[in-house]
Symmetry: D2
Subunit: 371 residues, 4 copies
Amino acid sequence: MTAITANPNPIPTPTAPAPDIVRCASMELVVTDLAASRAFYVDVLGLHVTEEDDEAIYLRSFEEFIHHNLILRKGPVAAVAAFSYRVRTPEDVDKAEAWFQELGCRTERRRDGFVKGLGDSVRVQDPLGFPYEFFYEVEHVERLHMRYDLYSAGELVRLDHFNQVTPDVPRGRGYLEDLGFRVTEDIKDDQGVTYAAWMHRKGTVHDTALTGGAGPRMHHVAFSTHEKHNIIQICDKLGALRMSDHIERGPGRHGVSNAFYLYITDPDGHRIEIYTQDYWTGDPDNPTITWDVHDNQRRDWWGNPVVPSWYTEASFVLDLDGNVVETVERTDSSEMEVTIGADGFSYTRADDEDGTYRGQASKGFKIGNQL
Amino acid sequence: MTAITANPNPIPTPTAPAPDIVRCASMELVVTDLAASRAFYVDVLGLHVTEEDDEAIYLRSFEEFIHHNLILRKGPVAAVAAFSYRVRTPEDVDKAEAWFQELGCRTERRRDGFVKGLGDSVRVQDPLGFPYEFFYEVEHVERLHMRYDLYSAGELVRLDHFNQVTPDVPRGRGYLEDLGFRVTEDIKDDQGVTYAAWMHRKGTVHDTALTGGAGPRMHHVAFSTHEKHNIIQICDKLGALRMSDHIERGPGRHGVSNAFYLYITDPDGHRIEIYTQDYWTGDPDNPTITWDVHDNQRRDWWGNPVVPSWYTEASFVLDLDGNVVETVERTDSSEMEVTIGADGFSYTRADDEDGTYRGQASKGFKIGNQL
Amino acid sequence: MTAITANPNPIPTPTAPAPDIVRCASMELVVTDLAASRAFYVDVLGLHVTEEDDEAIYLRSFEEFIHHNLILRKGPVAAVAAFSYRVRTPEDVDKAEAWFQELGCRTERRRDGFVKGLGDSVRVQDPLGFPYEFFYEVEHVERLHMRYDLYSAGELVRLDHFNQVTPDVPRGRGYLEDLGFRVTEDIKDDQGVTYAAWMHRKGTVHDTALTGGAGPRMHHVAFSTHEKHNIIQICDKLGALRMSDHIERGPGRHGVSNAFYLYITDPDGHRIEIYTQDYWTGDPDNPTITWDVHDNQRRDWWGNPVVPSWYTEASFVLDLDGNVVETVERTDSSEMEVTIGADGFSYTRADDEDGTYRGQASKGFKIGNQL
Amino acid sequence: MTAITANPNPIPTPTAPAPDIVRCASMELVVTDLAASRAFYVDVLGLHVTEEDDEAIYLRSFEEFIHHNLILRKGPVAAVAAFSYRVRTPEDVDKAEAWFQELGCRTERRRDGFVKGLGDSVRVQDPLGFPYEFFYEVEHVERLHMRYDLYSAGELVRLDHFNQVTPDVPRGRGYLEDLGFRVTEDIKDDQGVTYAAWMHRKGTVHDTALTGGAGPRMHHVAFSTHEKHNIIQICDKLGALRMSDHIERGPGRHGVSNAFYLYITDPDGHRIEIYTQDYWTGDPDNPTITWDVHDNQRRDWWGNPVVPSWYTEASFVLDLDGNVVETVERTDSSEMEVTIGADGFSYTRADDEDGTYRGQASKGFKIGNQL
């Protein structure tokens, strides 16, 4: 393991102009058993293979027109090799390189790309320790968006967002805002602690989010479906295959983001979210929504409990040499601890008469139904 | 409280012909705050009022053409006053009366009906202690099935079934089979214990089901929707009203019945299931499906945990004088105890190598994710 | 071609008891190109093959547990060889045989069945000229109803109904009511002409319907889906395959039956309806709904026009020797003529002020939008 | 009526920088009977009233957070008073004013806005004769996006796009590309004629589209729903209200845009599209899709016919004095004439053997089914 380069806190704002990021565009996942992962992503989830060999499989969702939005690469340790963003122009790759170099981050530029289907790209180990990639040049492939002859009942149509675990959310948020992201929603408490933040480039609730915890780790990568029944079908299919233990949490309706969601885990434990129907955030003055960490509907609008593994488990990330990046613990309060179990409390209605809220055990908190 | 009349075990088969039951048709619920219940069933769930006064509200679902399929009646104790079944002919009411009299059950016949909208009816306290009602004569009202101007996003379209808690499931099952019900699915273990059974008249998975536990109690009454998104909307609406603590379990896909489901509780704690898309069972040789009680997908096809309250809570029932019927404890194994917590075990795949199944803790059981 | 045996009008009611019919259960279609039909029903529509050889393919829908509900049999002329109904007991096959023999119909009994998967069966050429089949004994096969790993986006789940073209609807209706069917809806005019009637055994709007026109012909056979989006997907897939000319009419919402529908044609021109969400009709006093033939929402609730081919085209039927049955023209008014074109009129609101209704051209009739 | 100011052809590209347009944001409709329009948009379609008086009603869809996205204003002639776009900064209003002034267009600036809820705005009569408006300052109102207690079964969630009729599509397209719009799809023939073009700012298929025909006229304004069933419900409700003659075309799946659609008409004949599920177009190199005007799946992916009124009818637009702008006829070929009726032809499969395509009447064109 390699440690994250010590970074100043807060991370300074570079003087160089930030690249114009269009959207989160692809993730490169390292998996330990390529055949098992192929079975999961292709046979179960129905992603479409653009090309593959013994080392890697390039996949894309139904509406994608660039070469891939998910790469499965065989490796010794399950981890994330790259969070890839598309930028608006070829020059934005230069800007990204300069911007991160000014921050003292290690960068690596490859004019022919790091992976098939992408051209000139820069990879950086960002100030939070994550392997970020920026590219403009792509190989166009057939966009399948009207190939309804290939449309499965649980079809994944777009890569929607990443979610990253980092110990200090405000620090990461400031850096990403400098990079051009805009915060749409966050979770805080009345002590001023921030537990998570969602931020976007493409006009949806997020292109990436920061979740407070030991990091850098990848919490999940999300694909969207057209409608809610598509997500239900994925659950039904996992049940039919006797793989229901791959369903970690959901389906449900998020409070944050308003999306209908499901979390599942792949054969290596990488978490995938299936997601649909958030809302437009592209206006310059889009209102930021702040949720109280004790609001029991913030993570699930229906008040269904968040399973502890969802808080504790996440995937390692790799540095530019392919080594696992050592994680740093969170020192702020843990969302899990302040909301679940003996020390935690939550409320359904903040002002409920017989709920004590600040003194624990508010009416309507459903965890009491659990043994 | 009154005790159930001591009944022989097993309950003998009457020599009189059983009435020809068409379907479960209505439930009469006693509620303690009529205004609060009206707000729940009419304003939140959108059932349609046929008529109402200070004592009772008569409600019907979107596709019902008889006067009502749910009555809310004001009373001192929340309970169920009647499980009402429609029979095929006026003479079948006579048959029902004679059939239960032969069993030594108390019966009461009212030529003008016990409630508005129904004519000649007989009520009985059945051998399991439940207040059953049988009627043929009804007042027809406007069937709203094409009144899409009144169709809400979470519209309830039909009364689908009852679910009753009784200590000895095989005993109750034998009696109901004599009464003409046919079993479609059940839950057993390899020791021969039956935990629950589903049985029908109308060609769906059930008109009523028996759940093992202290009884007689009413576990739930179920209304169906057209599609799955209608059920999701009910959850979303409860969230918007900050009533998410009324969502007890789900939504999910049942193993048993194959239906998409949700359990919610009304202001008195009466449990309502919202249910859609089981399957046709009306063939004479419809195969009965038996589920292993340790199969973690039997109650939820996606393996999501059953909350303990779902096993332990249920509504009292009334005798023909309106007194609460005393309950009798179950002596057979409890489904909750054999599947949840320290003494319980479940499996996702019965033959999993590293699951020990008979020696506990099979791979894939998700309860381990709970704190 | 063979002519229909001359039958008395009206058809007399047999003194023998009618068989107890459970439901419409299967259709045997003769197709001229077995490979082309297989491509359509299996590759495009996704029906499941139970077994097949060079002469015939036995198909079933997702929730069927008997051997098949559609047979494709290779033959020289596209036609229907059997409308098959399941009866409640083995003795009901005897009853069916006797009942039709009393009517003077030709019958043929085969103790080992006419087709694979079915046992003791009787086939008759009924008084309207149709090849009806009745059976009880079946081979059970895997019911796929929870095999969501096989569930396609446009999955067909049940055989819902047949639709038959016959010249004299009231005559056919009387005969089928004697056979135990109950009418749920019909289309009439104020001159007393009946244009069509829907009748059921299984508690839905129909197991079969009679449409007025030259007959005996098969108008369509209908399969149901779970939800409306499944039907839309079938359209989308036909578009993607550049087979949109197989979409004849719809999708739309029926007035009659209240179902969401689509009509498509197979490679031989046999018409298939895809159908979902009618309503429960199994009560003994289920109200019959009569629609005015001039009500422009009767066939499509949204007032979208019925294409002429839908009125004029239908499939031939075979007699028990496999010869095409000669058709007899309708002598009553034609629904197409009284509602479409120069001589037809329709209304959206019967009492519209500026619609002249009885004197033609009522406001709101959309055909005026067509060139 | 006033004539459009004579404009050069092609319209020159201004040297001033174009404003940065975020999205189409609102339309101001003049209606002749405010109560009738309110009944249609509020009671039938369920748009939410932000505020209203005797002269105007300000409406917004479920997910909108600015004051309104549709204004109904009482007036003597049904017409469109403004196509309003939101720009990214206050300075972009200045840029819009200067940009159109350089083109010689009449402009009017109001620091307090032309309508309630909007601040500093500029209105212009654009080179095509349309009343365009640009604004940044808005009053924020409650975003209802999680108010599922207000969510109707056919809920409209966003304003999606405008559609404008103009005689010379390439001329208009060039001007709008200069203004910053990007073309996603168009319809052409092999003679080089352009029949329509779709162009966007916000990353969907369009913020506005140009349809060839006598103009300037407004073809339609489109609102989106979450799912397809929401659109079906709107049809079902119009049927229940006996307003099915307000359904002009659809529902269907577009070829162009890939969206599921419905066209309805309001009491004044203004056309509203209900629209859902197009695809992401925000990448800088998003591929433009060109459809052949003879492809019978271009306007409806299922090959269902376009009704002539859809081609011929559209709403007038007003100049800045509130006078109707005189329309200019199209001189290029008409899409309706080249595809419908005696002179038109279309194909389902361009290379069909027995279709003659270039010599007319290709196999698979469904208009032959029409009388």
